[in-house]
């Protein structure tokens, strides 16, 4: 006859040293739960909440981080007023909007098309999916660096291809230089990198549509075109919206890749709000002003994130 396995709770209780057990015996379950959760809450307060509150406070002052001994003056809403009436900042918002709108449009159109093609069963489907997804796995710093080489007017592959196809001399234009091509260059890179992400989300949406719906439509003699617009699109739409919101939030904060590709130039052609904010905070050292700028961007991203969470819950309910 074998001994029955010891109860794990009893075993843990027996293994707890007597002084610790005595101390814990007096605590309620709720208190013990708080002991476990407290370190996380403390870290959250110290790393997220406190800096946020501090930034809100700084946004009402003229504090400059490079002159900590200077007397800090309370300026009220003046920083917000200056940002929200400044035409330069408004122009940067439009540059960000141009980048946002075009990357999202291209990524959704190409991503959905790719997902629709991949969803059909063919030989080598998995290999093709893996190859398409590869750019998404790279670091933005790496992507920024190697696209800088690809865009080089003298040795870059892109200029060489353009010369080969159109006959325009490769050294006569620069994708990242003056001439209005720089904003489009960063749109191309972001689209190349993040279309696979949209494709994966669309693919999940397409695979969630049961086959019997299409079979019923076939029985009713609905054309492929009608099936696409009345079954496929409405059922993938929540997933697509999720992808749009996620990419929108991410691209609103875009910094690393654009900094490596253009640094905000030439001139202010690719000066996104995140790059402008960094310049205000750590090059011009206008900490109070940049805090107000950061709060404006934070509230915008937070608002978008709230919609994102709501959309996510709707997708989960399906």
């Amino acid at each position: 006859m074998t001994n029955p396995l010891p109860n794990p709770i009893e075993a843990a209780a027996r293994a707890t040293p007597a002084p610790v057990a005595r101390r814990l015996r007096g605590l309620s379950d709720r208190a013990i739960a708080w002991i476990f959760v407290a370190p996380t809450i403390f870290l959250l307060l110290a790393i997220n909440i406190f800096p946020l509150i501090w930034t809100v406070r700084l946004s009402f002052t003229n504090f400059a981080a490079n002159r900590p001994n200077r007397e800090v003056e309370w300026v009220g809403l003046r920083n917000y007023e200056r940002i929200l009436t400044d035409e330069g900042t408004w122009a940067n918002m439009q540059t960000t909007a141009h980048f946002l709108v075009w990357t999202i449009v291209l990524q959704v159109v190409i991503g959905f098309t790719l997902a629709w093609l991949i969803n059909r069963k063919f030989k080598g489907n998995d290999l093709v999916t893996t190859l398409i997804v590869l750019p998404m796995m790279l670091s933005p710093a790496v992507v920024g660096n190697f696209w800088t080489f690809l865009y080089q007017p003298q040795i870059g592959l892109i200029n060489y291809i353009v010369e080969l196809v159109t006959g325009i001399p490769a050294s006569s234009f620069s994708m990242l230089g003056p001439g209005g091509l720089a904003p489009w260059s960063i749109i191309i890179v972001d689209t190349w990198m993040w279309t696979p992400f949209v494709m994966l989300i669309c693919l999940a949406g397409l695979r969630s549509i049961p086959d019997y719906i299409y079979e019923a439509a076939e029985v009713d003699r609905a054309s492929k075109w009608r099936q696409f617009w009345t079954i496929t699109v409405p059922m993938v739409l929540p997933f697509l919206m999720l992808a749009v919101l996620f990419r929108g939030i991410e691209n609103f904060k875009m910094f690393d890749m654009v900094t490596l590709l253009t640094g905000g130039g030439p001139g202010n052609e690719t000066l996104l709000t995140s790059i402008d904010l960094k310049r205000e905070a750590f090059e011009k050292w206008r900490t109070g002003y940049s805090s107000a700028y950061a709060i404006i961007l934070f509230v915008t991203v937070f608002g978008l994130a709230s919609i994102y969470v709501k959309a996510l819950n709707k997708v989960k309910e399906r």
């Binding site: 929200l84 408004w90 439009q94 509230v299």
Partner: protein, 62 residues
């Protein structure tokens, strides 16, 4: 429309959240549009009101 209005009057989550979502979206559009400086100036306030409304109304009953 009447269901939406009665939901608003009875402080129900759905319509209030929808209203907050519209305000947030409107604020973001106002922030980034290239046509009117006044819309850009007021965009932050609209987004802030929408966001705060969203946080509060997400605690309303269904």
């Amino acid at each position: 429309m009447s269901a939406f209005l009665s939901g608003l009057l009875r402080f129900r989550r759905g319509p209030w959240e929808n209203l907050a979502t519209v305000l947030i979206a409107l604020g973001v559009v106002m922030l980034m549009q290239p046509f009117f400086l006044w819309a850009y100036t007021w965009s932050f306030l609209v987004t802030l009101v929408g966001t705060v409304m969203f946080i509060i109304t997400s605690h309303f009953p269904e």
